[in-house]
């Protein structure tokens, strides 16, 4: 089976795709920190950051619909925050409604918190989408290593990345087999079936891990992994990094 759901658009070619993954990772993190640190209600700053990220998204040639769909991941949390808004009692009341038997009143301060959080979260998720859709995961992991994440973690993550495809395949085959045998019935029975599937998957995964290790030993694995491909920090990265930093600081200088 084919799984294109992992770094689907990282194969495109654009100015952003060609940047060094380290530049992109640090720039994304800086952008997210800048957004989170921006004090509430600085709408001009948020608008400014929004323009930057949209410009970069356009440069990167990512399909807009895909970006929008991806950014819906934050929706459950937006909903969660929205549910609790009526419980912020302080401040001026913006509107009061009779919902069934409750008197629900929404205050301006509550709405303010919601709007603020939604805007920040959305800006951050766009930055994260830009990062992960323009960089191959393998390159991203390499850059993490050079930024100080321990080598062992990186190796484990690369193994995980390699075997996600195999195990997802295995799960899909199991699901197909289950569904073709009239899966359904009482809820407890369904849970037991899923429990058996997960258990079987665990045993198979564990045995696969041991086989992989044996195969690696047979090929002379000594705990070290050597790779050929080196990341290259180009002039374009230096320019992009410098300009991006200036742009991020720009709102602090003129609006604070």
């Amino acid at each position: 089976m084919k799984h294109s759901f992992i770094d689907e658009y990282s194969g495109l070619d654009s100015f952003i795709h060609r940047l060094d993954p380290r530049t992109k990772l640090i720039a994304s993190l800086a952008f997210i920190v800048a957004v989170v640190l921006t004090p509430a209600s600085n709408w001009r700053v948020f608008a400014f950051y929004f323009c930057i990220i949209v410009a970069l998204l356009i440069f990167s040639k990512l399909p807009p619909i895909y970006v929008m769909k991806r950014s819906l991941v934050i929706f459950p949390f937006v909903l969660l925050t929205a549910i609790f808004i009526p419980f912020f009692k302080e401040g001026e009341v913006a509107g009061s409604y009779n919902v069934w038997m409750w008197q629900v009143s929404v205050t301006y301060s509550g709405l303010f918190i919601l709007a603020n959080v939604v805007v920040k979260a959305w800006l951050c998720i766009l930055a994260l989408i830009l990062l992960s859709s323009t960089t191959r995961l393998a390159d991203l992991l390499k850059s993490l290593k050079q930024l100080g994440v321990p080598q062992v973690m990186i190796l484990i993550l690369s193994f995980m990345y390699r075997y996600i495809f195999v195990l997802v395949d295995e799960v899909m085959r199991m699901q197909q087999a289950r569904d073709s045998r009239n899966f359904g019935g009482r809820r407890l029975h369904q849970l037991k079936t899923i429990g058996n599937m997960v258990g079987t998957l665990f045993i198979r995964s564990y045995e696969r891990g041991e086989r992989i290790y044996a195969a690696m030993l047979a090929r002379g694995f000594d705990g070290q992994v050597r790779t050929l491909h080196k990341l290259s920090f180009k002039q374009a990265d230096a320019y992009f990094g410098a300009v991006f930093c200036l742009v991020l600081i720009f709102p602090c200088v003129i609006w604070w």
């Binding site: 993190l29 997210i32 920190v33 957004v35 989170v36 640190l37 991941v73 934050i74 949390f77 925050t81 549910i83 609790f84 419980f87 912020f88 959080v117 805007v119 920040k120 979260a121 951050c124 998720i125 994260l128 990062l131 992960s132 995961l137 991203l140 321990p150 062992v152 973690m153 190796l155 484990i156 993550l157 690369s158 193994f159 995980m160 390699r162 075997y163 996600i164 195999v166 195990l167 799960v171 369904q190 849970l191 899923i194 429990g195 058996n196 997960v198 258990g199 998957l201 665990f202 045993i203 995964s205 564990y206 891990g209 041991e210 992989i212 290790y213 690696m216 694995f221 705990g223 992994v225």
Partner: protein
């Protein structure tokens, strides 16, 4: 429960990152001591296993469906430190590939869904399992209750972080989050117990992994 960026404040995120970085550094050492260089392929494949297991949806009340978190399962099968390592890998990939959970909030997410459930789940399981004279019953009841409780604990940690950041009011959010997840956690508990029953019946030796 994956917190996106922007929902927690900078100080909360920074504390989360510090806690996660420290625990993961120690987890790498602890697992390495236990299984040496075998750690790399094994932990990688098992992280992929948790990731794949999370794709299996089960029905929850009202037409909605949930899926396993798997932190308690990982900790019970592999021991708490290896569990933390596996869950950290899963959360990193979910954040970097699916934007499920933010980059800056990664530390807080590792704390909520890795560190807290792995330790709470593992020791609760050991405690409850030792109360039963019959091994199979003890393993099933212990793992089920522990897995249910870890889901509640993870949601409590999440609610507290959101409240400290000023995103939700604590006195309403805490009971609401804990209450909802006490229901969601039932599925996690039952499935975890079923998984352990199967492993106990087919490869009981794998249950001794955490002690090795």
């Amino acid at each position: 429960m994956h917190i996106p960026d922007g929902f927690i404040s900078m100080p909360v995120a920074a504390v989360g990152i510090a806690l996660a970085a420290g625990s993961v550094a120690y987890a790498v050492k602890a697992t390495n001591k236990k299984m040496g260089e075998k750690q790399i392929p094994l932990m990688g494949v098992l992280a992929a296993f948790i990731f794949a297991a999370q794709m299996l949806n089960f029905p929850v009340a009202g037409g909605t469906s949930g899926h396993l978190i798997g932190a308690a399962l990982a900790a019970i099968l592999l021991g708490p430190w290896s569990g933390v390592l596996v869950m950290t890998c899963v959360l990193i990939v979910q954040s970097l590939v699916f934007q499920d959970g933010g980059l800056l909030a990664l530390g807080a997410n590792i704390f909520n869904m890795g560190i807290v459930p792995c330790f709470v789940g593992y020791y609760l399981y050991r405690g409850i399992a030792s109360l039963f004279p019959k091994r199979k019953l003890g393993v099933m009841v212990g793992s089920g209750l522990a897995a249910w409780f870890t889901v509640v604990m993870a949601s409590v940690a999440c609610a507290v972080e959101l409240a400290i950041s000023g995103t939700v009011p604590l006195r309403v959010a805490l009971p609401a989050m804990a209450g909802v997840h006490a229901l969601i956690g039932i599925g996690e508990g039952l499935i975890t117990a079923a998984v352990l029953a199967l492993v106990l019946a087919t490869r009981a030796d794998l249950l001794e992994l955490q002690k090795a």
